[in-house]
Amino acid sequence: MSAFDSVTAARANDRPTAIDYITRIFGDSFIELHGDRRFADDKAVIGGIAELGGKPVTVIALEKGRNLKERVERNFGSAHPEGYRKALRLMKQAEKFHRPVLCFVDTSGAYCGIGAEERGQGQAIAENLMEMMTLKTPVLSILIGEGGSGGALALAVADEVWMLENAIYSVISPEGCASILWKDSTKTAEASECLKLTSQDLFKLGVIERIIREPKTVDSVMFDSFKTLIGQTFEKLSAVDTETLLAKRYNRFRKF
């Protein structure tokens, strides 16, 4: 499978989105919480509290939408600053109540528009990077589809970062890269190779801890084993004292 095949798979319309993961893993236990308390509720970001193995967990996700109507409503998973600020509010809440944070990342990137700039898109992302680095509770981020640059990283400063086999994670879209390199945005396949954006590439570079195999068809077995794995990981991370956890998180990013 080529890098461009992964790009295509990561963007496929029938690919499960964050809502599917939340529903299949947490069922009815998920209670959604809304708003950033400053400006609005950004529907590209879903957040709330759920139960995992009898323990509470904060869940935050970038949601693209599962059909055209939802995709428009969710702004195709491209968050505004208020989305990142909602995420940070819920992370701080998780820290206060000593529950771990689980992030699902799926976005082509933070939204590029007038309102996003006016309300400080750069500042919102920067603040998340800074605050997540010392959040005194375990954080696990899972890239389930597209991991588009700073807009994805703003939910991926974590103790562990995992990727679905066919998810991608990149500093720039292959189209953007191709148009800068060759002044031709159609050369996406070549650009995809150059960017080293597949889960295998990123594992080799030490950017992620784990690749989650994708079955040919999505089934409940996949979500069940996924749930077990997440539960075990939080148990492992919660057993570590906070000082060590944060030192490890710092070093995780310091090495790059």
Binding site: Y111, A126, M130, G150, F256
Partner: protein
């Protein structure tokens, strides 16, 4: 020969910026020595030596020409006080990206520097600081792993020695040619900035034209105090990217320093001629004790 011909002939070249291949490369001239230069805003001619004496600010309209990192250090740090860190650190083509090795070589030749940031220790108005100055002449100030490493080390040094940090930013964003590793620099530098902040130390950012992308979305926006030069372009997504996304023209002065001031993302717009004094005052207000030097002789404090 009329005057416009003279100015065509003398029109400064802009080759260095074209090396930048990043979001914000704008058509702004570099200034050759001892020549007349036409201000791109008011179009009036100015002798480059006069321009140099005036901090490279147009005496007629106040337009701030872009300046290189070495000159920035010269006008900001006290004379002979700058001690550079990690001067020899240099990037390699880690992910084997097409053409990057050649681009790096050209960037070094054209800028005379090894990377897009210069870091070190300096005194400003007699106050000891860690200073980092980004360089638009090196791949448009894009952030690669060495850029991130130098900034991170500067923060770590400052934290260890309890010093304030001042960073002058200018950047087209993360360096595409280093792929995901350039993205990771955003997290790395932010981590170091956070530990510096948690130690109760002062961090001031000075945004200069242009500051965009991954630098805006990391350490540029993390200062306790965020200053900017007048009219600097400050953006997450550059104007062209936004216009392509929303398919409409952006209003004039959108994403200017003054616009960000109005929206609440910049503390103060400070002209270049006042920058050193402003920084000195802020440092003293945060507990820096200026060392008396000849330069400061006669000052009460």
């Amino acid at each position: 020969m009329n005057t416009s011909d003279i100015f065509n002939f003398l029109k400064p070249k802009n080759e260095l910026e074209n090396q930048g291949d990043t979001l914000a490369a704008q058509n702004q001239p570099f200034i050759p020595d001892e020549l007349w230069v036409k201000c791109p805003v008011c179009k009036k001619p100015v002798l480059s030596s006069d321009l140099n004496e005036n901090f490279k600010v147009c005496p007629s309209c106040g337009y701030h020409f872009r300046i290189g990192a070495r000159q920035r250090i010269e006008i900001t740090a006290d004379k002979d006080s700058f001690e550079e860190f990690d001067a020899d650190m240099t990037s390699v083509n880690i992910i084997d990206f097409p053409d990057y090795t050649r681009k790096l070589k050209n960037a070094k030749l054209n800028s005379g520097e090894n990377e897009s940031v210069i870091t070190g220790k300096a005194k400003i108005g007699g106050c000891e600081v860690v200073l980092a100055v980004m360089n638009s002449q090196f791949m448009m100030g894009s952030m690669g792993t060495v850029t991130g490493e130098k900034i991170t080390r500067a923060f770590e040094y400052a934290t260890e020695h309890k010093l304030p940090v001042i960073i002058f930013t200018v950047s087209g964003g993360a360096r595409m040619q280093e792929g995901i590793l350039s993205l990771m620099q955003m997290a790395k530098t932010s981590a170091a900035a956070k530990l510096h902040s948690d130690a109760g130390l002062l961090y001031i950012t000075v945004l200069t034209d242009p500051t965009t992308g991954g630098v805006t979305a990391s350490f540029a926006m993390e200062g306790d105090i965020i200053l900017s030069e007048p009219k600097a372009l400050i953006a997450f997504a550059g104007p062209r990217v936004i216009e392509q996304t929303i398919r409409q023209k952006l209003p004039k002065d959108f994403q200017s320093a003054e616009f960000l001031l109005e929206k609440g993302f910049v503390d103060k717009v400070v002209p270049r001629s006042k920058m050193k004094d402003t920084l000195t005052s802020l440092l003293i207000l945060h507990g820096s004790v200026p060392e008396k030097t000849e330069e400061k002789e006669g000052d009460s404090q």
